[in-house]
């Protein structure tokens, strides 16, 4: 489902003496349907960079990233927008939403964007919020005022609202208590069972062992000159 071949990336910092920083070279990676692959490696090794290139907000210098049939490296913005709407989900570490929008609508939005009727979308959003133990009295409030763990759970609910065939998870259990961590791991296992291809970063080793089928050390993709 996700197929990365010979991917390279460097940053050119025009305002800092045009410094060129190579960050990745010759990355290869495959994630099949129903499989969860964990990225490992120290901070700065390029785990997030790789995830962002798959998501399409970082440009690759060369190589290919196929998600389903689309090569994200050469795709037009419109194709990437359609991919994110229908095929590829992303649970980032930080919640980024329009202030003052109620939590229930934040979670329902990916479904509304697909044209799902509002009541169906809200019902699905309510199920997920309840499952992730967000108290009902908070559903009509904006998540911008929530605690870190609550925001993360809202982000997870939003990411799992639509059954995406491919999912990117950036530390989905980082700031959760044991009970909520279990709920999130169950959601991930259920997504795998329905055939989703998942690429994730998990610093939580217990979580990693529970859900990941394989681990890939991104240090293998670090350019030799920079190492």
């Amino acid at each position: 489902m996700i197929n990365i071949e010979n991917l390279c990336k460097s940053f050119t910092l025009h305002n800092q003496n045009a410094a060129v920083i190579p960050v990745m070279a010759g990355a290869n990676l495959q994630v099949a349907r129903g499989e969860c692959v964990g990225l490992i490696g120290a901070s700065g090794a390029g785990k997030s960079t790789l995830m962002r290139m798959v998501w399409g907000n970082y440009l690759a210098a060369s190589g290919s990233i196929r998600v389903g049939k689309l090569d994200v490296v050469t795709a037009s913005p419109r194709q990437i927008i359609a991919l994110r709407r229908e095929t590829l989900g992303y649970v980032s570490q930080f919640l980024r939403v329009v202030p003052r929008v109620p939590t229930l609508d934040v979670v329902a939005e990916p479904l509304l964007n697909l044209g799902v009727p509002a009541d169906t979308a809200r019902t699905r959003a309510a199920e997920l919020l309840a499952r992730l133990n967000i108290p009902k009295r908070l559903w009509d409030l904006s998540p911008t005022t929530f605690s870190g763990g609550e925001q993360q759970r809202v982000n997870i609910a939003r990411g799992f609202a639509h059954p995406f065939p491919a999912l990117l998870l950036d530390e989905p259990t980082a700031s959760l208590d044991a009970a909520n961590r279990e709920v999130v791991l169950d959601l991930i296992l259920e997504a795998k069972a329905r055939g989703a291809a998942i690429l994730g970063i998990f610093h939580d080793e217990g979580a990693r062992d529970r859900v990941c089928d394989r681990l890939i050390d991104v240090r293998a993709f670090t350019p030799k000159a920079a190492a």
Binding site: R52, G56, N57, P77, R78, R85, V116
Partner: protein, 267 residues
């Protein structure tokens, strides 16, 4: 499982607006030069750049407020694709009343300050032929509600409204005729941040529900991140970078965009 039978089809495969090599100079000075891009149905395009970068000149040329020196602005009208630069003034004005809308930075430029709020909304309906007074008033009240203006204010003049209310009224006046393309010049400029957030949410909902396309000129990068699908960065009358909004903001390639993104103060 969730019902996805309403999933959007690929019907939006034809651009609504195609801009080709648009150029406008003020004497020897460049307003905007050699601009080309497409806008598809349901898509929001953001245009950012510093003052004097040519973004307002570009928007004026697109909306027919200013005649470009060169180039084409091809709009997919009900009767097929037409170059709006070449069409007659009457036809272009008709387009501006029906398929297009223009939200000015200063609501006073887009509203009639001496006419009631209801009259401001109703006037655009009458301009396209609505004549039933009761129907016009009902529709005006419905739209005031959608932009969160109390129905009790329908007979008040906009001069009695706050800046945020005036801006929302201007949006209601523009959208009541269900346009397909909305031009916006700094729609959240000059508003309190709390009002900005409400306006952003409103605009996003309207774009999704009405399937309208929008071109938004702004210098606020936070606004484009939340609202725009795609982004164009302008400097000195030229487009220096264009792409997916979060890609341009998170991994800017051009020297100027890198400077722009790194100059934003963190709250």
């Amino acid at each position: 499982m969730t019902d996805l039978s309403h999933t959007f089809s690929a019907a939006a495969d034809k651009p609504l607006l195609q801009v080709k090599n648009l150029t406008k100079s003020y004497g020897a000075r460049i307003g905007c030069a050699d601009i080309s891009f497409d806008v598809y149905p349901g898509e929001v395009l953001g245009i950012v750049g510093e003052s004097g970068s040519g973004k307002s000149t570009l928007l004026s040329c697109l909306a027919g407020h200013m005649r470009p020196d060169q180039g084409e602005v091809i709009f997919e009208t009900a009767n097929g694709a037409r170059d709006t630069v070449q069409m007659g003034e009457a036809e272009r004005r008709r387009l501006a009343r029906t398929d297009w809308a223009y939200v000015h930075q200063n609501p006073r430029d887009g509203l009639r300050m001496g006419v009631s709020a209801g009259g401001n909304v109703g006037e655009r309906l009458m301009a396209i032929g609505a004549r039933h007074y009761g129907g016009i008033r009902d529709k005006a009240i419905d739209w005031l509600g959608r932009v969160e203006i109390d129905a009790g204010r329908v007979d008040d003049r906009p001069s009695a409204f706050s800046g945020g209310m005036q801006q929302r009224l201007q949006i209601a006046r523009n959208l009541v005729t269900a346009p397909r393309l909305v031009f916006m010049d700094e729609p959240t400029g000059g508003l309190d941040v709390s009002v900005q957030a409400r306006l952003l949410d409103l605009l996003r909902g309207l774009v999704r529900e009405m399937g309208l396309s929008a071109i938004i000129v702004t210098h606020d990068l936070a606004v484009v991140r939340l609202l725009a699908d795609r982004l164009m960065v302008m400097k000195g009358g030229h487009v220096v970078e264009a792409g997916l909004t979060d890609q341009v903001l998170d991994d800017p390639q051009h020297e100027y965009t890198q400077l722009l993104v790194s100059s934003v103060l963190q709250v």
